[in-house]
Every structure is written in C-alpha cells, then in structure tokens.
Symmetry: C2
C-alpha cells in the first residue's frame, strides 16, 4: 500500500526517500488519527534517524497534495488523517482528543441557504460530533 501511494507521489515529482517512506507507512499502519509526534515515533520504528522537522515537512506536503487532512483539536494540537475526500466526518473525545472517522446519517440533507452564505462559495461541509470516550468518562 505504501508502495502504491509512493508511486503515485513519485509520478507527481516527489523524490522517494527512506524518511518519506517511513512517514507514509506510519500513516497507513494505524487506524486512529495521529499527532505529529505519534507519526514521528512510528516513522522512527522504521528509520530511526528521521527528524521531527522532516515529519512536519512531509505531512504538510501531503496535506497540500490532498493526500491527508488535518484536524485541529480543541486543545490546540493537530491530528493527521490518512483518509481523504470531500465528505469526511469525525467523532472527537473532548477529554483525550481520541478521534474516529464516522459516516453520520443525514449529511446529505445539510445545506446552507443563500442568505447565509455571506458571498462565500461553500466548498466543503464537515460534521464534528463531540463527547467523551469510555476512559475519559470514567475519570470525570
């Protein structure tokens, strides 16, 4: 899988380095959304000398290329999300930031009336459900 994505990126002019491959594998290996630090830790498992700076650079390039997306949590940190696409929704724990992808019902019925668009062209809609995960509920 990493290979397929790497090839796709190479076709777009990317130089494939061990570091980038490590970052890609970190993103594909996990199911939850990862912080930059977590991506760094995972990438180090493959290529011990990857620097955090390279991880950030790579993540930002992937975002710019539309291959991953970022979610800003309420605590100010960022999570990076391997999946991509126009309609992509989340369930976030307000306690620990744990984040899941979800496919809610009724999204298709959402719309913003012209009168409320303030002259803006609406490009995407994101729905965020917030709550507390079992772990954090227990700690309340």
């Amino acid at each position: 899988m990493v290979t397929a994505l790497a090839d796709r990126l190479a076709a777009r002019g990317w130089r494939i380095t061990p570091q980038r491959r490590a970052v890609l594998s970190a993103l594909e290996g996990e199911h939850v959304h990862l912080s930059a630090d977590q991506v760094h830790a995972a990438a180090r498992g493959v290529v011990p000398e990857v620097s955090l700076a390279t991880v950030y650079n790579t993540l930002n390039e992937l975002i710019a290329m539309g291959e991953i997306s970022e979610i800003r949590l309420a605590d100010g940190t960022t999570r990076y999300d391997p999946k991509t696409g126009p309609d992509h929704h989340h369930l976030v724990c307000g306690g620990c930031g744990l984040t899941f992808d979800v496919a809610p019902r009724g999204v298709g019925g959402l719309s913003l009336p012209q009168g409320q668009r303030h002259g803006m062209a609406v490009e995407t809609v994101e729905v965020v459900f917030r709550g507390r995960c079992p772990n954090c509920s227990r700690r309340d």
Copy 2:
C-alpha cells in the same frame, strides 16, 4: 448588555473588575468572531492597561463557564465566539479565517448510528462549512 452578563457572572462568584468588563464589552460589541489579539485591542479601547494575559485568563474562564466558545481554525489560531448554545454552526473562509455563525438546514436530521459511536456518549454536533470569502477568491 454587558451589565446583564456581568451580573450573571457576579452571581456565580465572579469579581467584577474594569478589565473583565472591558473584555465582556469587546465580545459583545462585535459581530464577527474575534482572535485573542482582537479582543485585547478592543478591550484596550476601554481600559488601556489591560494585559494580554488577563484577556486570555478571562476568555478561558468564560469558556469554562460556558458563556463563550472557541473555534480552532485550520491555521492553528483560535477565535472566540460570544454566542453560546448546543447547536452552533460556522462558515469559515479558508483564506483569511473570517468566520460567521450560520443556521444550516437539515441539522436536525443528523445522527450518529450506535454502531459508530465507539462507546462514546455524544454531547454536541458541530457543522462547519468551508469556502472562500469574496476577498480571498479575488486573490486566487
């Protein structure tokens, strides 16, 4: 209006200081969502010696009390939102961060099937529409 809110907070044990009153007036006087710096600037118009630290402290207390809410933008900065309530949605410009409150149609129909809740108790739903404001579109 500031008085009413101030009274409400006083009833909850808040000490009403000129600085806090200034922060409250800054939040109520504007229609758009403000950054901490913008709140600071506005508050200074009333009480010139308010410090940024006090503005942050006050904003965080207001958040904890549920009187305002915060929105983290894609660029990592935070906007503070005077209005409050369970169903509170936004329209955000991806170019400059300009943010509006909106009341979309179809929100009532949104739901997260049990199977996708990962054991979490869902407390709130937020819908974010993203696009580009007329100014930023012009710059593309």
